[in-house]
Symmetry: C3
């Protein structure tokens, strides 16, 4: 009771004191919310090497980048193994060479996730996209780079599979899962593809 | 040093002036955070046509919609190709007709993503769900519609695969990837299924 | 017009009244934003039972937990069916027993999502990870538990597939899709794996 009377007195003497206290509380609350409010970023974890799924990933990534969002794609496991410009087999351990042999040698060799029929499905999809004048995967990759999309290769995946850096497409950064999280934790959209 | 003295003087003369400046800063900060704070929305990108995955998508979507979240499902590629009520083959280009022939003709024909065994797996799952009185896919689709879940068909996927609008289930909107992003960027949960 | 004059008068008499009104508006705005600002959480929906995908899920989960984020993994359908420590077939309905027979009996039996070659692929991956001293799935599961990662089993999946609790690995909670959503709606990262 006593304290309530005192508070009332203070406010009568100087209303600004009560306001200052409320303002301070609000400033602290906003300061605590701020780091958890997403930034204008989009983060994609690309785990797949299939043409259809990679196309979806780049369609979303270029769309977000075109809207002005800082977009990053993290390529893990099959996602990284499929991101080659060439295939190196010699000079590797047996299992690593086998992975290189079995993985798609470049983007033109990516299979479909369904209805692949030994590559016929992927060729069919590319033909249908051409017929409708839809940007090809290679177009989308170029657009993504031009729009500043970050393409990050998972270091652990690279090391485990023994992929050499010169096997991979140009313009990749290298990073760990913690790097993906550092982006994703501040992103407005996060997808595992 | 001089400016600090002046500031102190000002506050002594009128404490409200200092408060007003702080309040203005805070108002601007909140105004800049506001558009990045997620709204009460959930956005699902449905890329798959398998019964098990579509069931997961609709279970999450109806759950979110029942909790009062504005829920949208964006059906891309296989996700769209599997959302048929009938199958039209004639009058299409060869490749488009082939896609229609190979795609599930309606929701009852959706395969499993694993253990399909030429459809036996999907029938088994439906039987096990019936045994335990769990809502079927068709039930969930009806519930989703009743709860106002937006179901958006990817226009590019439709055009590339040559799917006719009357082949698809009722109640779909049509939109581009940018439309998915417009929802997803303001959503509290975003998933690629 | 009259009200504007009055407002101006009030501000002249006491500037604090105008500030108080603005402060109140801002307090209400922040209060309405607060519940929608993500908390320091990460939520993964694990739908898959393949070694490579489960490894990705636990790599992300342990990474997030190590950074101090409250991390939860929700195991649905195949994700749950693969989370066994043993396999019980007898005393079940025919279809339930069949699921148990066909599902991996424990984490060592998880297949690959691609290039499985009847289990050779999975053994190869485990060997390559050992060669590079990368934590195994079993290591990651132990780390996840030690870091307090919540592992939630989907009750509907368990009931539909007739999985007995003692078939599943230790330390699982049980929950419904609404439980996943309750976490995911407050998470900074949400992924469907």
């Amino acid at each position: 009771m006593a304290s309530r009377v005192r508070a009332t007195n203070t406010e009568m003497v100087s209303p600004a004191v009560g306001l200052e206290a409320r303002l301070r509380v609000l400033e602290q609350k906003v300061a605590s919310l701020e780091p958890r409010v997403p930034q204008d970023r989009v983060s994609l974890m690309v785990f797949s090497w299939e043409l259809d799924r990679i196309l979806a990933a780049f369609a979303i990534a270029t769309g977000a980048a075109a809207l002005g969002y800082q977009t990053s794609m993290f390529f893990m496991f099959w996602g990284l193994a499929g991101l080659r410009q060439k295939r190196v087999v010699t000079g590797k351990r047996v299992r690593e060479g086998l992975v290189a042999l079995l993985a798609p040698g470049n983007s033109k060799q990516l299979p479909m996730s369904r209805m692949n029929f030994f590559g016929v499905g992927a060729r069919m999809l590319r033909g249908m996209m051409r017929d409708k004048h839809v940007a090809s995967l290679e177009d989308l990759m170029r657009i993504a780079r031009r729009l500043g999309t970050r393409m990050v290769a998972c270091e652990t995946s690279r090391d485990v599979m023994g992929i050499r850096d010169d096997e991979l497409v140009e313009g990749l950064e290298f990073g760990a899962t913690a790097g993906f999280l550092a982006d994703a934790l501040h992103s407005r959209v996060t997808l595992f593809i």
